[in-house]
Amino acid sequence: GIDCSGDSRTCCREEFFVDFKEIGWEDWIIQPEGYHMNYCAGLCPLHMAGIPGLASSFHTAVLNLIKANNADAAVDSCCVPTQRRPLSLLYYDRDSNIVKTDIPDMIVDACGCT
């Protein structure tokens, strides 16, 4: 996948870090110190459908489908996460118990065009 930089307009991953101390959550979240809430942004013009972050054969297949069908008939391609990982949290719950859990699919590692 591609990380957004400057004024990139096509599909890429935008990094955004939420520091728990800055938002006053460091008293109940013991670990980690923050959350990488990255997100996908950017356009997916039709010739980009299926890349990056996916196998190039998929990209070729998509392009062939578009050529075979009327390009206007093809639906828009969207910039979506193609690789995600869990957010591991160690926190106090409402009874001051200490809880550790992994929340699946919370951190976006790569983006791509559907």
Partner: protein, 227 residues
């Protein structure tokens, strides 16, 4: 978005001022974390656990697992739509006499709901006053309308304590039954024979505070696939 222009949901963010964009993203991050933890709002921590008690508890749990084994050997990994929790619940000491100590462990509603208890162990630290065997009776109780306590159906367990140290008790089924009845508080009564000099439960020494270590698995509500 203009009718023909290709619309990308996150592009709307680019149109915002940096400050507004940051506020939107922080609000989204808070909402996302709280909803995945099934918390209506961030918890207000009135009595954080002391570092000593936390470190001692973590050391005990790791000492309990043979070196190199996974936290719960033999237990299947969580499937799609399931989320696993490891919980450390420290005792609140209730009424105590020279012969008995009452302990309460609280579990939040979010966990007590559709949660399957995979493992749960009660850890107790004894300080034995004199050599020899000291019998102790451990029973699980629930409050009765008169304000006293009534033993749970699970009967009682007798321990023979011989020296200072930690003792453990499997409470997995007891907590599972408690959750099935919609309860959220595990109450434990410990009774010792006074004439033989009672092995004191070191409840007042914070790093020897009794605790329950549990592994639970909750089903996270997810979209039902339409056939």
């Amino acid at each position: 978005a203009a009718a023909k222009a290709v619309w990308c949901p996150a592009c709307g963010l680019a149109a915002l001022t940096p400050t507004t964009r940051r506020d939107v993203l922080v609000a989204l991050a808070k909402q996302s974390i709280l909803s995945k933890l099934h918390l209506p709002d961030r918890p207000n921590i009135t009595q954080p656990t002391s570092r000593g008690a936390l470190l001692t508890a973590l050391r005990r749990i790791h000492a309990q697992q043979p070196v190199g084994t996974a936290p719960s050997p033999g237990l299947p990994h969580p499937g799609v739509g399931e989320q696993e929790y490891e919980i450390l619940s420290f005792a609140e000491t209730g009424s105590s006499t020279s012969r008995s100590v009452h302990l309460d462990f609280h579990f939040t509603r979010e966990l007590a709901g559709s949660t399957e208890i995979l493992q749960a162990t009660l850890y107790l630290f004894w300080a034995v006053p004199s050599p020899g065997m000291h019998p102790i009776t451990i029973r699980f109780v629930h409050p009765d309308p008169t304000g006293g306590t009534t033993p749970e159906g699970g009967g009682e367990t007798r321990l023979e304590v011989q020296r200072d140290g930690w003792a453990t008790l499997d409470v997995g089924q007891t907590i599972q039954n408690l959750f099935k009845q919609g309860g959220q508080r595990l109450s434990v009564e410990l009774e010792v024979m006074e004439e033989q000099g009672s092995p004191l439960l070191a409840v007042h020494n914070d790093s020897h505070r009794p605790f329950v270590a549990a592994r639970a698995r909750a089903r996270t509500p997810h979209r039902v696939q339409r056939r």
